[in-house]
Every structure is written in structure tokens, then in C-alpha cells.
Symmetry: C2
Subunit: 197 residues, 2 copies
């Protein structure tokens, strides 16, 4: 509309999650009108990240170093291993700030219907890691979906056979969540997982 | 948290309007996990746009060419000139699709308190353009704010002295807008600007 280059930029911005045509337009205008420094810095960070960021050799999260910050941190508890589906899950748990153990990132979940088997979510690497490190407990933090539960179940069976304690993070009503706004599935789970006080 | 490079990318994404820490994180993860092609293309478009996009020599909107697509389009009506505050306003009007004239972009509005005078919003260039082109009507589409109204008033006086018809776009209740959700200022304006049927 304006010019081929601006149209192209608006189109390119739509690769960002949650950015539709209107936001892309606002972003392009904002950057070109008021923040070319920010735009240049963003272009540079994107290029360097795409070039440099790969997988942590131990836990498979995203990092530009051979080992991520958690894996290379000697003060983290080597006996606890939290298994998650994605690097974003690691980030969420780290931001909560209470977990002091280490991680393993599946980069997905079991999904026979999509042809995703154990070998596709790094189960071999996970079992090798369990052999090599003094892990005493695996904490399964896969998502509370059908696939996430199936994945958790599969790993729990494998880990138990290796003599390792397996736990699952609790699911239920979020703290501060108002019951009337919680979905039915969560509520049903909260009831069936109730604990006697 | 993850790695310096990913932290830097999340930080850089926050130059985008409406992107807070959580969105920046989701965007960085999405790009690095699932769309490195998109990230590379975005980096490239940003660099080229920052490098190449400047002002249209005639109307001052954003373009990488000497003249923007509207100014260089010989089928647009040279006798109508719509005056707006920003390139984003041009885009909005173009997208509405009904206006067939040309534009002039002030790149701001008069604001004595901020030291923004006529020379800062291109009034000299506008008057030169009115001399050089067969403009018979100026349509003022500055924003319905105190500054936008003052700017419209100033331009209308200058243009009228140059013998040019001046009009202001209508303001009021948006089509499809429900009265109960319209702000009081708009409603008051809609009443005072009512037309006898
Ligand atoms: Zn790691
Ligand atoms: Zn132009």
C-alpha cells in the first residue's frame, strides 16, 4: 500500500505469535517513525539468535552455549530432574523461582497419531542421563493434556524400572483463581485429586 | 535466564508496541523453536526498511522511493488534498478505500507547549505544494484532539487566504457504534454537529 518495502515488513512481522494485520501495521509504523534504533537492534538480535542459539547438550533447552545456564550451574540439585515439554516451560518454572533441581526438555510429547514416538522426544537421551547422573527423583511436568499425561505415564514406567522415584506436579484450581471462572475439566480434576486434611 | 543471547532477544522484542515481558518471551520461544525462517526474514526486512525507508518528497509519508505510491499514481485526483498527522493515518484512509485524492502528512500537530510550531509540521512545504498543484479543496483529517483541532484551524485559515476550499472530516458516533459505549465527548460532539434531515 505504502511501498513494497513497508508492505514486506508488515508481512514479516506477522511471523510473531499474536500479531495480526493491524498490529503488524502499528508495529511497522512505530518502528519506522519513532524507533529505528530499536528496529536495528531487533534485527541484529534476531540474526544472531537464529545463527547462534541451538540446544543444550544435556537438557535440550535453547541456548547458544554447549550447556545452558541451569545445566552448567554446579549449585543446582543434581538429584532432582524435572521433565517438561518445551523450553518455554523451563522458563516459566525458573521464573516461579522455587525449583532448585535440573531439567530435561522433551521438545514435544508422545503422539502416536502424529507418528511421534519415544525416540522423537529424546527418551533414549533421558535414560542415558539417568544412568550417568545421581538422579533420585523425576518430577513430571508435562502438560495436563491427553498427550502430556500419556507421555508422563510412559516416562514414569521407564524411570520406575530404573529404580527412580517419579512424581507428577499437582494440577487443580490456581491459587487466587475464582471457582466460577475455572474450566470444568480443571474443576473435575481438583475434586478427584482432593486431599484429606 | 536461559542464555545471554535469548535474554537479549526478548529485551529487543520489547521495542514493539504492545509487547510486554510475557509476549516477548512467547515470541522469542516461538521463533527459535518453530520459525527460524520467519525470524531471519523479519531481521532482513527490518534492516532493509531502516536503511531504505525515508519520506515521500511530496507528501512526507513513509516510502523507500522518492515519491510514494499515492503521489506517483497519475490516476489520483490532484484537486483534492487530505491533510493528516501521520503515515498511519494515510494507511487507515487508504484501507477504507473510498478516497481518491492525494495526501499531505504533517508528521505531528501544532503544540505550542512542546515548542512545535508551523515550521515543524511542514506548513511551508504544504503552502508551496498548494501553489504548485491544482488543489481546489483541502480535507482536514487531523485528529479530533485539542492539538489536532488547533492544527486544522491554523491550516484552514492559511488555505482560505490562498483561495482554497477547506473541509473537515465528520466526527460523531461510529457506524455500528452502540450509543451506550460511546464516550461523552463524542456524544456531545455528535449532538452539537447534528444535521437537519
Ligand atoms: Zn541444559
Ligand atoms: Zn507521497
Amino acid at each position: 500500500m505504502f511501498s513494497p518495502l513497508i508492505d514486506e515488513l508488515m508481512q514479516a512481522l506477522r511471523c510473531l505469535p499474536g500479531v495480526g494485520p493491524k498490529s503488524a501495521q502499528r508495529m511497522a509504523m512505530q518502528l519506522l517513525e519513532h524507533d529505528r534504533g530499536g528496529a536495528t537492534r531487533l534485527a541484529d538480535c534476531l540474526s544472531r539468535a537464529v545463527e547462534g542459539v541451538a540446544r543444550c547438550q544435556r537438557c535440550r533447552t535453547l541456548t547458544e552455549q554447549p550447556l545452558c545456564g541451569v545445566c552448567s550451574n554446579e549449585r543446582r540439585d543434581n538429584t532432582l530432574l524435572c521433565v517438561v515439554e518445551t523450553p518455554a516451560d523451563v522458563l516459566a518454572i525458573e521464573q516461579a523461582g522455587s525449583y532448585q533441581g535440573k531439567y530435561f526438555v522433551l521438545l514435544g510429547h508422545l503422539s502416536p497419531i502424529d507418528g511421534v514416538g519415544p525416540e522423537d522426544i529424546g527418551i533414549d537421551q533421558l535414560m542415558t542421563l539417568l544412568d550417568a547422573e545421581p538422579v533420585s527423583e523425576i518430577i513430571l511436568a508435562t502438560n495436563p493434556t491427553v498427550e502430556g499425561e500419556a507421555t508422563a505415564y510412559y516416562i514414569s514406567e521407564r524411570a520406575r524400572r530404573a529404580g527412580i522415584t517419579v512424581s507428577r506436579i499437582a494440577h487443580g484450581v490456581p491459587l487466587g483463581g475464582e471457582l466460577e471462572y475455572i474450566d470444568g475439566g480443571t474443576l473435575a480434576h481438583a475434586f478427584s485429586s482432593r486431599r484429606t486434611l
